[in-house]
Subunit: 489 residues, 2 copies
Amino acid sequence: MGAYDDLLGYDRDTQALAQVAGRLAWDQETVMPRGAAAQRAEETGAMEAVLHARRTDPRVGDWLTAAKAPDAAGDAQLREIRRAHDRARKVPADLATALARLTSRAQGIWAEARAADDFAGFAPTLGEVVRLRREEAAALAEGGDLYDALLDDYEPGATAAELAAIFDEMRPGLVALRKRALEAPAPEPVRGTFPAGAQLDLARDLAARFGYDTARGRLDIAVHPFSSGSGDDVRITTRTATDDPFNCIYSTIHETGHATYEQGVDPAFRLTALGRGASMGVHESQSRICENQLGRSRAFCHWLYAELRARFGDIGVADEEAFYAAVNRVHRGYIRTEADEVQYNLHIMLRFDLERALIAGDLEVGDLEAAWNDRFEADFGYPVDRPANGVLQDVHWSVGLFGYFPTYALGNVYAGCLYRALRREVPDLDDHLLRGDPEPATVWLRKNVHRFGARDLPRDLITRACGEEPSAGPLLTYLEEKFGALYPG
Amino acid sequence: MGAYDDLLGYDRDTQALAQVAGRLAWDQETVMPRGAAAQRAEETGAMEAVLHARRTDPRVGDWLTAAKAPDAAGDAQLREIRRAHDRARKVPADLATALARLTSRAQGIWAEARAADDFAGFAPTLGEVVRLRREEAAALAEGGDLYDALLDDYEPGATAAELAAIFDEMRPGLVALRKRALEAPAPEPVRGTFPAGAQLDLARDLAARFGYDTARGRLDIAVHPFSSGSGDDVRITTRTATDDPFNCIYSTIHETGHATYEQGVDPAFRLTALGRGASMGVHESQSRICENQLGRSRAFCHWLYAELRARFGDIGVADEEAFYAAVNRVHRGYIRTEADEVQYNLHIMLRFDLERALIAGDLEVGDLEAAWNDRFEADFGYPVDRPANGVLQDVHWSVGLFGYFPTYALGNVYAGCLYRALRREVPDLDDHLLRGDPEPATVWLRKNVHRFGARDLPRDLITRACGEEPSAGPLLTYLEEKFGALYPG
């Protein structure tokens, strides 16, 4: 065997072990006994050490130097294996260990600070996280931009400048749309009794409709819904609130979008570096197009309205139009994860700008809360009432996730682009959505996005699927048309 | 740090990874999507390769040579780490791989042969398994007895000759007891409706009564009940049959016996080579004493009879005496896993003698079916009707488990010895069992068995707990008293 085959054989075991680590994380969030947390931390640490040792193994470097890829997919394999190898090698072991320890501890400190509404209690720890992540970014960037080095983990090839240009184009339009919607009379909400078991039945039905293969996955309950795993074992989770069916419905469709992406990757890539989604941004585009452009469409809401009444009886809205308005209600709120389509991206842009400034050293952690509050009021039109509803609301920074937030909004931008192309290429899509059948869309996504796995860089993948470079235009047009009609002002 | 600390630090990660591998096996038997089997085989294989590489790491040998243990527990740590290291090193990698591949394949061939009642269809594969296991035994034994080398994996320090002496002492008494019981009128069975959900509620209650800490474990459904994990994450499974509550009840108590053993190990041993049960035999003694000596006792049946009637209404037996007789019914049957206390050990002795002959080369696989049938009829008094009820009934040999079967009967022998000591030291035990409370027994077991983990060799552990060397006498006396009263002849 040549170096290429040796490398791929070695990497296959690494990928398999990464799947095991992922399964362990699934277990922790769904079924792990609560008393097992401390022991589990050691087990997870041991798995991470194994993966790190494999990724930094000097033989991988030697194989990468000597390997000749047999084809374009082979080139992509080498690119992705090299990415993981370089990343793991560049960060000094001491720093990686210090970061792992700190972020594990910081998450608890953040949770306490949030419960106590006390940003000052978290600030010193966050300062330390920022300091170590900047140190790590410097090791990764090798003289380049620190933030871009972090971003590259989640969105290979993207730069902050490119994202900023997209976001800056969107922001005024979103602020204006937000303003108009919040000045209009609020749509009536859904009211009724939605037993948890019946919601889960509906969730399973929805997952199947959106293309989820339950023979290669399963649906469970988790506090924070997520999707996990690749290939033939891709699991999703959801949650239920008995007074609000939308939480379960749209969490499920969202996670199904992630999961069908993983399930739709070419089986030839299974347990290789290409056997997963291309990036966090592309992943989010798949969850968001299912949840929003398809799941919250007027056509799908026609079917969903009848389905909810059939399953739950009266749901407290006058008619289908009122239901569609309730599904797409734009509402005041501080929390990103509860935000509607219009305001969600404003939440992200706020975080993106603040975390770039933190990593660049242009903003001190001590000034972060004030910066958050100023920006929130400017974009949302009302002040933050308390830190738990503001700077302390997200876990991300406490666990060191800098460079991750923008992929959420980028996913929405990609979803906008893909949706325009999908509408063009599947002109009768609404006829299917009216019957609760998004299959033509999921088939199109599988053909144009899913099957390629991580073969292409995200931007190239989206460009080929859409027939044009990704830009803010399609998403903005979609939002202005949809919410312009809902809130004619 | 010295070599001892280096070694223990390294071994801690190995133990943590072994727990991860165990969790993966739990996942496979309880929640894994059915379409994930092929991918899972690769994931499991990658984990096994990691564990094998760690156990054979030359540094472990160097550390073992240089290490000075600080105390007696440290000596035991070195003994157990050395056992795993030696075992892994002695078996050539090619042979280990060939065995793993063969037994993975053989399990499927066995299942097909069993379904088709076709021993000839399985015999060539079984012959190959025996051949490779003999080769492995030769590598492990280094000139010693082949069977003892295999047995040592499951029951450190035990020899086939020693077990044979114990079993040969028991066999005539068991055959006589079996004969007398089967000639007597059969007790009436339990009859009623036992919904699965209500059985699971009872199962959770029983597990708690027998000392299971659900904060450090969980109960799920599996086709073949098992217990898995060590330390703070010890999970049990059970199953339900709606016409037979005993399946769920005694599976649950049995697995709880295993699980409380793991949960009761001294926390100082967690994630070390001593942080688990001492052997398969000692493990089985803990499950069996809970299931049989305690769970099927007259006193506990007093409570259980009332409890079942309270939970399920009429259960079709006349009174408490009839219930106790039903619980302890000795019945004709071919299947080991369905056997009663009297006949179970006869099943094991049959397998023990046949597998010793196979490994010694005194019996050919081609003659195995006839040998099985002859021995069965001699000990049980009626002929085997078909291979699925005879030589094809157990999965063990197909997956290469030779030397494992006798630990089941040895567990019963140990349970007999422990029960005699327990009765002596907790004279008012029945007062508690009458109220459905086995706590004095589980406390005694924790104090005398559980907490020591794998610190002592099994024989030494049982001897200290019982105040005498293990022997067949106590079990035989217990069975003769109990079943002599139930079947006075």
